[in-house]
Amino acid sequence: MTTLAPLRRRWDWFNGLLRTWAVLVYIFLFTPILVVVIYSFNRGRFLLTWDGFGTNWYGAALQNEGIQRALATSVRVAAVNAVVAVVLGTMAGIALARRSGKWSRPFLILVFLILVAPEIVDAISYLIFFVRINLGWSFARLVIGHSIFNSAVVTLIVLARLQGLDESLEEAAADLGATPWRAFRQITLPLMLPAVLAGGLLSFTFSLDDVIISSFVSTSGGTTLPVYVFSALRTGLRGDLAAISTVTLAATLVALGVMVFALRRSGESVEGVVGTITGAG
C-alpha cells in the first residue's frame, strides 16, 4: 500500500488554520483541569474563592475518613463492575458474532434500549426494584447498577471487533485439527483482546465517574466519590476534593502510561485500541 506524498505546500494557510484550531481545542479541554489542579492548592475554606497558596488540603484529604472511604468504594466498585461487564459482554458479543440467529435481533434491541435509556430513568427503576427485593447492600447495588450499561457497551465493542475478524481463520484452525475450544483460546481470544481490554477500560472509567445512578442506589456509608462530590457541590466545594481529584488524575496518568508502554511493546497500536473502543476498528 503506497501513499503519495501529500502536497503540503499549496495548503499552508489551511494547515495553519487546522493547527490553530487544534491548539485552541486542546487549551479548551485542559483549562478546567488546570483550574482544578491549581485550586487544589487554594488555602481558603471554600474552593470558589482563592485565598492564597497552600498544600493544607492535600493533608486534609488524606485524613478525611469520608473521602478515603468513598474513594476506596469507587475503585472497588469500578473494578468488580468492569470484571462483570467484561465477562457478560464478551460472552454476549461472541454469541452475537459467531452464533447469531433468530434470537439476535430481540437481544440487540434490548442492548440498544439499555444504551438509550437515560441514566435518571435507570437510577430510579433500579432503586425502586432494589428496595422491593430487599437488597440493601450498597456495593452490590452499585455493581449491578453500573454493570448493566457497561456490559451493553462491551457487547457492542466485542461484536464490532469480531465482525471485523475473518471467521475463516477459526475455520482454518478447525480444518487443521484444533478443537473449537483451542481455536477460540489461541486465535479468537488473543485477536479479541484489544476489544476486551478497551471494553474493560471503558467500564472501569464509566463506573468511576458515574453520578446519577450511584447517588440514587448507594446507601449512606457506601457511597462513591462522585456522590460525595455531588453533595458537596450543592453546598460548598472544598479544596480537599480538588486535591483528591489531582491525585487520582496523576495516578491514572501513570496507569495510562504503563498501559501504553505495554501495548507498544506488544505491537498493538494505541489507535488500534482506540478504534476498538469506538467500535469502528
Binding site: 470558589l48 473494578a79 440493601g136 488473543p190 453533595s231 505495554a262
Partner: protein, 397 residues
Amino acid sequence: MKKEVETIRLLAPRATANHLRYQLTRRGFIRVGSAAAGGLLLAACGDGGGSGGTETTAVATTAAEVGGDLSIYTWAEYQNPDNTEAFAAANGVNVIIDIYESNEAAIAKLELAGASAGYDIVVPTSGFIKLMVAKDLLLELDMARLPNSANIDPAIAALQNADGIAGKYSVVKDWGSTGWVYDASVITEPLATWGDFLTVAAQPDVSGLVSILGAPGDVTGIVFWRDGIDWNTTDPADLDHAEEVLLAELAPHIKAFDSYPALSLVAGEYVLSQAWNGDARVAVIEDPERYKWGLGAPKTELWVDTWAILKSAANVDAAYAWINNILDPAVAAKETEWHGYDTAVMGAQDFLPADLPAPEIIFFTEEEKSRLVAGEVNEAQDRIVEIYNNLQAAAGI
C-alpha cells in the same frame, strides 16, 4: 521420544503473519494481558491505598460503649466538625454526614430508599415530622435516654410540638427564620419588607441575579407574608393567588434555586438572595460593609429543626448518645458558633465567646420575634410543591 508439539498452520499475508505471530504466542498474550491487569491494579492500588483504607476511626477509645458507624442525614454546614471529632473520639464512633436541601427532598429520599437508606439520624423541620410518622420512618423517642433534653427552652419546645406528634419523635436542634441577604454595593436602599424584595428583584441591575430558597413553603411564603395572608392557609384561592404573583413578578428574575446562597453571593453570582439567617450570616461575616442581612417583614417564618432517629437506624445507641451530647450547653454553644443558629439550649449562651461576630443575626430582638410565624404542613402541601415546580419550569425558560 520427542514430545509432540502441537502446531497450527495458517495462511496469511506476511505483515499480518508477523503481527499474529506475536499476539498468538503465549508470551505475547501474557504480556499484554498482564500489562493491562497491571495497569488496572496500579490504578486501583494507587487510588485506594491512601491512608490505608481504614474503615473506622483509628483513635484509642477509653470507654467504647458505643462504637460502630453513625450516619446523619442533615442540612449543609450544620455540624461543627470539632464537636463531631470530639464525639467520635470519645465514643469510638465513625460519624458520616450526608446532606439535603429541603425537607421534601429528605422525605423523598427516605421513602424512596426505604429501610436501606442507611441513615440513623435525620434533621427534619418540626412541621414535617407528622408526614414522616405517617410513612413510618421515625422511631418514637425514649426520653429517658436523653437526660439533656431538659436543657431545652420550653417555649421553643412548645413550638416544636405544636401538632402534638413531633414532640414524641424528636427533640429541638435549633430554630431560626427566613429573610434576605444582598450585596449593598449594588442595592443601595435597604429592604424593609417582602414587598421590597419583590420590587427590588425586578430592578434592571438586580433582575437575573436573584436566588431563592430550594424549599417550596418558603417560596410561596413570600407572597403570603407580603400580602398579610396566613401562610398556613389551605384556601385554594390564596394558593392560586400566590402562584400568579410568583409566576408574574418573580419567575423572570430568578437566577437559581439555592438553599445555601451565601458563598455564591460572595462570589458575585447573586446580588439578592432569600436565605435562612445562619447561612446569610456567613456572607455578612465575610464583609459586613458589603453584604447586608434583613429579617423578613411584616411577617416571616419561624422554623424549628429537630433531631429524630430513623426506625431503620442501625446504630440506635450511637444515635441517642449523639443527641444527648449535642444538647449539652458547652457543646451547643460551639454548634451556634459554627452554624449561626440559636440552639434553644438554656445556658449555652454563657459559653459563647464574647467576640462572636454578628450575634444579631443569631439572636433576635423581641420586635423581630413578634414577626415570626411557625409553619404547618397541611393539606396545602401538595399544591405548594406544585406551585414550586411550576415556578421552576417558568424560571427555566
